[in-house]
Symmetry: C2
Subunit: 480 residues, 2 copies
């Protein structure tokens, strides 16, 4: 992997990390910061710093940064705000040029905090120390298993999707994010004392392993024109999803109070500026993660003709409504596909698209494998550009294997069921499933499907909105 | 329970039910229809009808309806379309006046199906037999444990919410619906050969145990003016939520094809008519179930002043944006509450509303019970009409009990955690939680919270939209 010549490169790929405030106490938030690096097998050296410990999680600890005998590539500080300036000073002394400040209570912490912020910012600038945060929970890089988080990180599914956030709001969701959507890197800019959205966007633009960028912002700290000029060129090259909160005057005021940044007060102007780029604006958090997942896991649709497979006519009507409201067209399936589907029809003629798989399954319970083989003709039809399918309930896994399912979350029946779904949906075109209620069994299936790059959305509307945004992005950016 | 003098009463509270097409074969869809009645301990007599069986699931079976020695209150028919007319004839012969036809393939099944439909409809009308369906999966009545479904029904949480559907789209979601939102009755009108939305609405209006009505329609089969006149008066008395699909011309055409009904082609006119009632229109399926749950589990807000408890400033900004866009006001908390909250503040001042519980918890890990006791002051503040709170991740259950959680889905730590959440949110005012990612542990917590009438939504926006709709309903209907 070739390293980028951008100062953020060492934040994501440090050769060594010192964790100031590391602890053996499992009932402190800080415990997890270092433990994750160990559990995930971080590909670099770890230096715990804590004056009261000889070793932490089995690794030799140092009383201060100044006691570390080797060069420290990245310092992560998680000590109280009042002690943080000392850490910045230590960084200067040991010539550590990169600092992550997890601690909060600076520019968002009243006049006292603001004063501390100013002193730290001036000192770091003078000494040439680049600072991420304060008030950040990052970085994460799935390539080298670097992950700064308060939560125990369980499973990582790597991919090309890189996130930038301006708040730790994603941290409670981190396991869900890391296990489902194919993440490359995550950066929380926090209070943006130094590193801001322009730095981050420029880095992701030049990062070869980042294929899709998803950015949450509340304020622009860099020059507004600089940001939009950059966004214009980056978003033509890589799909770039923007969630901008602080849209209403009250929201913008709230944004100012929690990170101490000046928010963008006029949402309409912001929206107008986004329109002049190829970036895709998410209307809310659900849409942000939906789009991130869709762009990460799927190719861009070559056209807007959608095939829809449902479990009931009622779902089909709602999907068709969503198509019309989001600029996709129900595909007109060919005669060949019609012939294939006739083999699995109920005893009467049914419409081809949306295709009611529910009623057909009732009449094909004796051979559901054949049913799925014929169903697979739908997304493969020459008149189809993209496809969505409602995930059938577990009950069909029973019929498929002709045996009652055990109570285990995932068993052989589920495995066979998964294969059937994949045989329909892995068809070389952007294809998504939806499932609006998820019990624990369904969730395991969803995880397995998404691990195969088949995204599952919570409604046909959300799947359609995501595919529609991808289709429009392809057109606007000239990539399709 | 006093019985209503409406013909639908016997569909929901039959003294006896005959299941025509009942089977012992667990790998047929029909198996579940009767099995659910047994497993749920249906409060009436069950007569399986199947010429090839002596007994089904341990109950004596009859070769035909004509062989049943006693009066049959309700007949449920699940035999192929071609044989259904014979069942209607049998009903006439044994003077069974109420028939549910589960089978599809009639008016939605091409010219042949339409012909069958017409013959059955004429015959049933002539003989005075009331017909639900065809193409229905219902009724469900949680009061007497009557539940017609293809899915194995697991848990039922009773309540005052009654659903009417015009499609079986809810059947794959039936366990989720029945376990979370406090359901009273469910009726799927299917192809509406006889029983239509006017009958259903009139019945629910007069049904004492139904407190909230949620209705999905694609077409109006009864007289349009009659429906809206009825809706006007019913929606003033009981919150009535309407999901109308087939909104676009293509959607409306799709609606016509799957139940053979004439759809309402102009959505704007429909919307205008809804505006003249107190009914609440849901924009999509997610909103339909969100609203159903909110109205079912919560009292109407007395005002629009909302308290917001978040885990991060970023979530707070988004919640405030949603408030502004949906007509709720962030409540201004009193000095008393401010004093209480100061006890759990981080070492700096933070805004009161949205209240960042995340940063506070980090500084109160040593006594989270105290933390929750003080937090409880927020929704109880005199300036608060309703409240929402982001559900803290499981990690806090660990800190609460000062022990690492076991891997069991729900254990003592979760129980204590649940008590803490409930102590904040059970405050006599409409209060909801949100949690945007649900793993299986979280889902069990959600189920336990909803069993205590504390609804959990998937985002602050969805919680706010639901409370906002309830507030506006209270104002418009004059109930608040």
């Amino acid at each position: 992997m070739e390293k980028q010549d951008h100062f953020l490169e060492h934040f994501f790929n440090p050769e060594s990390v010192a964790i100031v405030g590391a602890t053996n106490n499992t009932l402190k938030m800080n415990f997890r910061i270092m433990r994750n690096l160990i559990d995930l097998n971080f590909q670099g050296t770890i230096y715990p710093v804590n004056p009261g410990a000889q070793e932490i999680s089995g690794i030799r600890a140092f009383a201060s940064l100044r006691d570390i005998p080797d060069k420290v590539d990245l310092v992560v500080s998680a000590v109280p705000a009042s002690k943080t300036l000392d850490i910045v000073r230590d960084c200067a002394e040991i010539r550590a040029g990169r600092l992550v400040i997890i601690t909060g209570g600076f520019s968002e912490g009243g006049p006292e905090g603001q004063k501390l912020h100013n002193r730290m910012a001036a000192f770091a600038r003078e000494k040439g120390i680049r600072v991420l945060g304060p008030n950040t929970l990052s970085p994460v890089n799935t390539q080298n298993h670097l992950a700064i988080s308060f939560n125990a990180i369980k499973k990582i599914r790597r991919g090309g999707l890189s996130f930038a956030f301006q708040s730790g709001f994603y941290d409670p969701k981190i396991n869900w994010i890391l296990s489902h959507m194919g993440v490359n890197k995550m950066l929380d800019m926090g209070n943006k004392m130094d590193i801001n959205e322009v730095d981050t966007l420029a880095y992701f633009a030049g990062d070869d392993t980042t294929k899709v960028i998803a950015m949450h912002i509340e304020s622009l700290k860099g020059n507004v024109n600089e940001f939009f000029d950059l966004l214009k060129s980056v978003s033509r090259q890589k799909p770039t999803i923007i969630l901008k909160s602080g849209r209403t005057p009250a929201g913008s005021k709230a944004a100012a109070s929690h990170t101490g940044s000046l928010a963008l007060e006029n949402d309409l102007i912001f929206d107008g500026m986004i329109q002049q780029t190829s970036a895709v604006r998410a209307q809310n958090m659900d849409e942000f993660f939906d789009l991130a997942k869709a762009f990460s896991l799927l190719e861009l649709p070559k056209g807007n003709r959608l095939a829809i497979i449902v479990l009931s006519g009622g779902e089909g009507v709602m999907a068709i409504d969503s198509c019309g409201m989001n600029g996709l067209e129900p595909a007109s399936l060919s005669q060949n596909t019609h012939q294939r589907l006739k083999e699995i029809y109920p005893p009467w003629e049914i419409p081809l698209n949306p295709f009611d798989a529910g009623v057909c399954m009732e009449f094909n319970l004796s051979d559901l494998s054949l049913f799925f083989r014929n169903l697979a003709a739908i997304p493969r039809d020459e008149n189809v550009d993209c496809a969505i399918m409602q995930m059938p309930p577990n009950i069909f896994a029973e019929f498929l294997t002709k045996s009652n399912l055990s109570q285990k979350p995932i068993d052989a029946a589920d495995e066979q069921f998964l294969q059937c779904l994949a045989s329909v949906m892995e068809n070389g075109k952007p294809s998504a499933l939806w499932c609006s209620t998820m019990d624990s069994r369904e969730m395991e299936l969803v995880e397995m499907l998404e691990a195969r790059s088949l995204p599952v959305f919570q409604s046909s509307e959300r799947a359609i909105k995501s595919l529609s945004a991808m289709y429009r992005y392809g057109q606007k950016s000239g990539q399709v």
